[in-house]
């Protein structure tokens, strides 16, 4: 069975991290399986953990009165799920749901934040990678907002 360090080292968000940093991160994680339909995160709830998808896909959703549930993004193998654990007020902004059976690594966000406070190099490395992920998704969201297919 692969150790968590090995499982997470291939994910883009952890790629290139030093082995000692991977070990520190892995120390806050555990494997979990979630069947399709499981709610991983719920809007407004405390953001105490986050996930790395190993297999399967997850929908980021928002419920809009009168419009029902809207899927605004799907995340897939190699993607981290959940960003609000990194920043105050540490509350989820959206719902996320397993679209299909998922193999995940679940991380204790408070555990990892504490380690980042104690080891600023780890904090810098982790923050750099998460910011790159945030920027990529932010740019995609801007593109999405253009609604390019909606107009001739």
């Amino acid at each position: 069975m692969q150790r968590i360090e090995e499982l997470i080292s291939v994910a883009p968000v952890f790629e290139g991290l030093a082995p000692e940093h991977l070990a520190l991160i892995a120390g806050c994680g555990r494997n979990e399986h979630m069947p399709a339909g499981t709610m991983l995160l719920r809007e407004g709830q405390p953001a105490e953990r986050f996930f790395l998808i190993r297999r399967g896909s997850v929908a980021v959703e928002v419920h809009a009165p009168g419009r029902g549930t809207l899927v605004i993004e799907t995340l897939h193998a190699g993607d981290p799920v959940g960003l609000s654990w990194l920043f105050a007020p540490y509350r989820w902004q959206f719902d996320t749901r397993a679209v299909e059976p998922c193999e995940l690594v679940v991380f204790d966000g408070a555990c990892l934040r504490r380690k980042c406070d104690e080891d600023h190099e780890l904090g810098y490395q982790l923050m750099s990678r998460f910011v790159a992920n945030v920027i990529s998704r932010f740019q995609a969201t801007r593109f999405q907002l253009l609604d390019v297919y909606g107009h001739a």
Binding site: A59, L70, V99, V148
Partner: protein, 276 residues
């Protein structure tokens, strides 16, 4: 002996069938009233008109190996296209063409071929996909990255499964969806990373709204595909279709004559000039 009437004289075609694909898009099958085959290359377009409502450029979306049928997928967005889409089988439409530079299907032999389509931009790429599949053994990976606004706006849904079964890696994404959609949600550029392309061995062909192509080309370049191996189909105000009237000028080129398919490197500087 019948003399060639020239490229400005339309030829009558009979509408054989019409299928509504989405709320505003129809696929039409036509046959020349003369019953002569209509040979074309993937990526070319015709000038199409219904009597009394003007002429518009429309990409050919049919199989280049079935020249007896001319297939167009048309989005009803104005007077001319609304009249074309409203036509009933048996009605005559006027056709000029085919015109324009095609997709580099032969030049891509031996390479991975990446097709990046957005919205109705899949229509001009469909003949290229069918040609690639007809000669499947000449190519390495065939990857289709297709983005649409929502699941109900996806074109050729039945065919996507068929293409997949015949050796195309089909990646579909929509910009937004309800919870019953189990596929990808997000912009088409995010599929580029997921497809794990071998940039150095790939040729890419893209068609869709111009903004979508700009973002997509940026992602393809990030994946290692050089601008000289990325091709895009452009749309401008084509009117004469033979390079005389100048309405479709793009920088030093005329889209009807030098395009619509261009090597990205040739047009990239002009796309950065606003209002051009």
């Amino acid at each position: 002996m019948v003399s060639d009437p020239g490229p400005m004289v339309p030829e009558p075609f009979e509408l054989m069938s019409s299928r509504q694909d989405t709320d505003d898009t129809w696929t039409l099958e036509l046959e020349a009233c003369s019953r002569r085959p209509f040979a074309f290359a993937p990526g070319q377009f015709t000038m199409l008109s219904a009597a009394g409502s003007g002429e518009v450029p429309v990409s050919i979306s049919g199989d280049p190996d079935e020249p007896e049928r001319l297939v167009h997928t048309v989005r009803a967005v104005g007077l001319a296209t609304e009249a074309i889409c409203a036509a009933e089988p048996g009605r005559r439409l006027a056709v000029r063409g085919p015109f324009g530079e095609p997709w580099p299907v032969e030049r891509a032999e031996g390479a991975d071929v990446v097709i990046a389509a957005g919205g109705i931009g899949l229509a001009p790429l469909r003949p290229a996909i069918l040609r690639l599949l007809a000669r499947r053994e000449r190519y390495r990976r065939l990857v289709l990255l297709y983005g649409a606004r929502s699941p109900d706006q996806l074109l050729y849904r039945d065919e996507l499964d068929i293409w997949q079964s015949r050796g195309v890696e089909v990646w579909v994404t929509v910009d937004s969806a309800g919870p019953d959609w189990l596929g990808h949600v997000g912009v088409v550029t995010r599929l580029v990373r997921r497809a794990r392309l071998d940039g150095a061995a790939s040729v890419a062909m893209s068609c869709g709204p111009e903004v979508m192509m700009r973002f997509t080309v940026a992602a393809l370049r990030e994946a290692g595909i050089g601008e000289d191996r990325i091709f895009a189909s452009m749309e401008r105000n084509m009117q004469c279709a033979i390079g005389h009237c100048g309405h479709c000028q793009l920088g030093p080129t005329l889209v009807c004559r030098d395009g619509p398919v261009y090597r990205w490197r040739e047009i990239a500087p002009w796309l950065m000039i606003r209002e051009l």
